[in-house]
Subunit: 334 residues, 2 copies
Amino acid sequence: MIERPYLIFLGDVPDALAAKTAYGIVDWRRDWCLGQLRLPGCKADTGLADMSIGEAAAAGARTFIIGAVNPGGRLPEHWVETVVEAIEAGMDVASGLHVRLASFTAIREAAERKGAKLHDARHANQTFSPGTGSKRPGKRLLTVGTDCSVGKKYAALAIDRELSQRGVASQFCATGQTGVMIAGRGIAIDAVVADFISGAAEWLSPATDPANWQIVEGQGSLFHPSFAGVSLGLLHGAQPDAFVICHEPTRKTMRNVEAPIASIDAVIEQTQRLGSLTNPAIRPAGICINTSALEAAAAEDCLAETAERYGLPACDPIRTGVAPIVDHLLAEFR
Amino acid sequence: MIERPYLIFLGDVPDALAAKTAYGIVDWRRDWCLGQLRLPGCKADTGLADMSIGEAAAAGARTFIIGAVNPGGRLPEHWVETVVEAIEAGMDVASGLHVRLASFTAIREAAERKGAKLHDARHANQTFSPGTGSKRPGKRLLTVGTDCSVGKKYAALAIDRELSQRGVASQFCATGQTGVMIAGRGIAIDAVVADFISGAAEWLSPATDPANWQIVEGQGSLFHPSFAGVSLGLLHGAQPDAFVICHEPTRKTMRNVEAPIASIDAVIEQTQRLGSLTNPAIRPAGICINTSALEAAAAEDCLAETAERYGLPACDPIRTGVAPIVDHLLAEFR
């Protein structure tokens, strides 16, 4: 559990993309953010008020969030001083970088001195039990993909928000490091020891009130040769009643491998077949298309054709919102 | 790589079952074993010559193998002195226990002093790349199960031995701690970080001569709700041409969970469907039945009926050997 409110640290990143985590948090959890801290030369701006560490601490900031990402997952040495200053001012620190915060001596020592928590969202420090496969109360939805990085996290966040806005009890269950930073809790499921994938997914979405919806962020794809094992363990552990297929219509091959992208048909059939092991009632509830590469008219056509073809609501979480999927969910999954 | 020859340590285990790893090594790799070391009160006997540490060291023993297993995976405190003595005599140490050897200060310090390697076969200390799914040269066979603990390791070892005895180039690829101890190399695939399951399987069974057979030890079952993710990642990474289904005919429910055991039909269909992602030519090559709970006549009937029903050779690796499966493999997978 990451304590809030947050002070979002952008460092001196060269562009907005390098602060993707920060933007994700601000997009979905603006209420939790007091302000942003930028070093000289920073080229990103989330729109939050700029604050010094002293100002943020005085305003009650509990956690210093490293909102930057980079390909190697490294923490630049010249950021360490600022992280230490935040700890000295009484904040915990959370990072989605690959490197562990405690691997920096100055950060580790400051945290020990002040009793601060260091959250490495990309690492799983908890121990889990193996999954049991036993059915538990509560309703669950999992987002699944025709590939990695097709919008499963945003789809889940959008559905959770839409349910909450309609007064339906709902929680977003984060399974990746950015999701964990956005949700303030969760588990980077691909960092769990293989034996405990489904057990970690069960821990993440425990028994709840029967009318409650847990919206579980999907990972990878059942058709991705690198990550299908993670996707299957998550599917078995989440035991979803409903799944939403996420797709990027202009992509032709799977990310980073030679395999072709899976079809929506294949994903529906495979998810239902494999998911039925732990929830025989599993069925699709909608399709989320990332239409960002399409013009407005083409996007509209794509969504209409997809909805028609599959007999399911089809939305773009960013462009159109997910109201039709939530309508369907509330009408058909009582 | 675990250096050989081995001195097999049985401690003072209360019965043969508590020395399962030792028996496995002696069953399959007797040539690698110089002798056994038993403490007073030991109730197990692998049949190897009893040797002191001094005698084994003088005879050239390179690795002290802890051949005992126990439910908690612990190393009894009163064994530590003997482990240290073996290190002082110049041996490496290998263990399939859950506890890490280096977590005992006396063992860690002795190993540092002598430059001895400590092999914790249950842990994966290497780093891997994500799987690529790209097809690589060489022939591969994977054993798969209708449940956990149905004889996948013994089936793979028996097929490897039969191939080798016929002069066919073949290697057993170990994926569990006992298999690693038997093979002297390999990886406990369920201990790998989830993101790298298929990558670890690719590392374990790399590109080889096109006529060479790698016989990969299976793990779990595609139908086991705790471990199916591991089984799928292993299937995708191993990209087998052939698979052998392993089954225990008297078992009704999956180990440790409430799910029913899978049928042989379902395992064939699912393995072929999911395995085709990384090897479209995947097909079954035989069935291994663990008939140890059956009388001789019933076992014979069971094997004959299974072979007839599926049109595949059916064997018990222990009771009948696997010659018919290897005949089929060599005739049908050229």
